[in-house]
């Protein structure tokens, strides 16, 4: 027994030094990878800060040499950036409110209320996740056009108010971890469903609610196809469409474009760094909610 023990310690000792070597290798690979991941972003910054004469120099600058912060003003003037930014913010906030509220409401109904057909509807909603999104595109486009919603923001916002199966599913999962005795105690005290949900359960489920808010906002901020096909007037464009159109021109003033692009990225970066915990947490569950 003793000999076995000693050979194992020896083996561990030799392995430990080996691990160090592989760890160094690991670090090197990771460093190279990190540069590859982050350099494009730094490149955006260098171009965003360049003067208009320097952007077409064929000898690349790897780091910014001068700082033309006025690009952030000029670049944003080119595409009526702030109006478009306002459009995007408005649409994202209004749809996030609707999506979060409706998903929570449906989640509560499915997990806490008892009524016939509950399981069937649940599988319908979850099953609809499997349906590729573009199947509905044309008929819904026709429907919304017939309603006179073409060239308005309604097609971008209204669908958010009809629940999102993934978020509903996430909320249901979390509700499953809250004992029903909380509901019952509240009911004893004369609370109705509305109070139970919004005053008791939602505050308890705050981590998952924040995750849902972040991902909902992210989705709305990213929305591209819908504004592309529904919104014609430039004054009503969202940032996604405006920037794609700005970039579709090769002779674009790059420095202005990159400056505008950076500001477009900014809200998501802020959300990411403030809510990193929820972001990471949600990512795994949003993804696994897809098919379970």
């Amino acid at each position: 027994m003793k000999t076995v023990y000693s050979t194992r310690t020896v083996r561990y000792a030799t392995r430990r030094s080996k691990i160090r070597k592989t760890d160094v290798f690991r670090m090197l690979v990771l460093l190279v990878g990190t540069v590859a991941m982050l350099y494009p972003l730094l490149w955006v910054v260098t171009i965003a800060l360049k003067g208009s004469n320097d952007i077409f120099s064929t000898t690349p600058d790897w780091f910014p040499k001068e700082f033309h912060f006025e690009n952030f003003v000029k670049g944003t003037e080119q595409i009526h950036f702030w109006r478009t930014f306002g459009n995007s913010i408005f649409i994202a906030i209004v749809s996030t409110i609707g999506q979060v509220a409706s998903s929570i409401l449906v989640g509560y109904g499915l997990s806490r209320l008892r009524f016939p057909g509950r399981k069937l509807w649940f599988s319908c909603f979850v099953g609809s996740l499997m349906l590729p999104g573009f199947v509905g595109l044309v008929p819904v486009f026709h429907l919304f056009s017939a309603l006179g919603w073409y060239n308005t923001w309604l097609p971008l916002i209204v669908p958010a108010y009809f629940g999102n199966p993934t978020f509903t599913f996430l909320f249901i999962q979390f509700l499953g971890t809250i004992p029903k005795s909380f509901d019952e105690a509240a009911k004893m005290d004369g609370a109705g469903d509305r109070q139970i949900l919004w005053r008791i359960l939602v505050p308890m489920a705050m981590p998952v609610v924040i995750t849902i808010i972040i991902f909902s906002f992210n989705g709305a901020w990213n929305q591209y196809l819908e504004p592309l096909i529904y919104v014609v007037d430039q004054s009503k464009w969202t940032l996604s469409v405006a920037l794609a159109s700005f970039a579709s021109n090769w002779t674009t003033q790059w420095n202005y474009f990159m400056a505008a692009d950076l500001i477009y990225m900014l809200p998501m970066l802020i959300v990411f760094f403030l809510g990193q915990k929820y972001f990471m947490q949600g990512l795994g569950s949003v993804n696994s909610a897809g098919l379970k």
Partner: protein
């Protein structure tokens, strides 16, 4: 008494249905209605304004026999999916394994790899469009640094689709994070047991790590396939399907047929083809999954 209970039950039903009514309406309007109408529209000649005219299977006949781009689009879409999905999975898993170790600054590394996936899609796509600029883009600057000849990344028919796929790999951090959480949930005692049995390196990976994360791998595979078949913005923003339709993914073709050519009925016929392809791929993957996916509490 009995009637009283009944009454309360009715109220319970109504309350339940009121709560889930947003999703019922949403399901009706955004899932059921389009599905039913798609069957009808696929058989029509329709430009979105006129009254749909019944043409039977003419849309499909034209699609399979006449349309010069359709088969090319199918080929390109397969090519795209078959490279993009495995590459994202493999690189994501490799990265996760590299990062699944207590190293100095590991948090920084994880954040760095994840960061690109946080950015808005259009911001990254437009950025990559400039990275691929033949004269001033970063990609050719880097090639130049290594003494290689510049490439016409998005402008050459041979290279364009590959460039789109490479740009997509910048987002590999999304898969990486999911695999990382999967790797971290593998019970440590399994590794200890493997070590006692004398297993090393590759063998530990093959017989402990890999089986334990197959459920996640499988889920990512399915979601990856469904997502990749529907890729659209990538080529719409970076190449507009060109050059010479070299990047005309099927979903992009559908978009341009419907909203560019105003061929609504025809576009819906194409949607059905794409839908069918995705279904077949998903079902085959499911079937095949029984052979390699290991579920810890297998109760099937």
């Amino acid at each position: 008494m009995n009637a009283n209970v009944r009454k309360r039950d009715y109220w319970g039903w109504i309350k339940g249905y009121l709560h889930i009514s947003p999703s019922i309406i949403g399901f009706g309007v955004f899932v059921a209605y389009p599905l039913v109408m798609s069957v009808y529209y696929a058989l029509m000649e329709w430009n979105g304004y006129n009254k749909p005219k019944f043409v039977g299977f003419d849309n499909f006949r034209y699609l399979f026999t006449v349309d010069p781009v359709f088969w090319k689009a199918i080929r390109i879409t397969f090519y795209y999916v078959l490279i993009n999905v495995p590459a994202s999975l493999v690189f994501g898993l490799l990265l996760a394994m590299l990062l699944n170790r207590k190293l100095p600054a590991i948090k920084f590394f994880r954040t760095a790899f994840y960061l690109p996936t946080v950015l808005p899609m259009i911001a990254t796509l437009t950025l990559w469009k400039f990275i691929y600029h033949p004269q001033y883009g970063l990609a050719n600057h880097v090639l130049n640094l290594f003494g290689a000849n510049p490439l016409n990344w998005l402008g050459s028919e041979r290279l364009a689709l590959m460039s789109v796929i490479i740009a997509g790999l910048w987002q590999v951090g999304g898969g990486m994070i999911i695999f990382l959480s999967g790797l971290q949930s593998v019970p440590q005692d399994l590794y200890e047991a493997a070590e006692v049995d004398g297993a090393r390196g590759w063998i530990v990976f093959r017989s402990v790590t890999l089986p334990m994360i197959t459920p996640i791998l499988f889920l990512q595979l399915i979601l990856g396939i469904i997502g990749a078949f529907q890729s659209f913005a990538q080529v719409q923003v970076m190449t507009a399907g060109g050059p010479n339709n070299a990047t005309a993914l099927l979903n992009f073709k559908i978009y341009s047929d419907v909203f560019g050519q105003r061929m609504f009925g025809y576009g819906i016929a194409e949607v059905w083809i794409l839908f069918l392809i995705i279904m077949v791929f998903t079902v085959v993957t499911y079937r095949y999954s029984n052979r390699f996916v290991h579920y810890e509490n297998d109760n099937r």
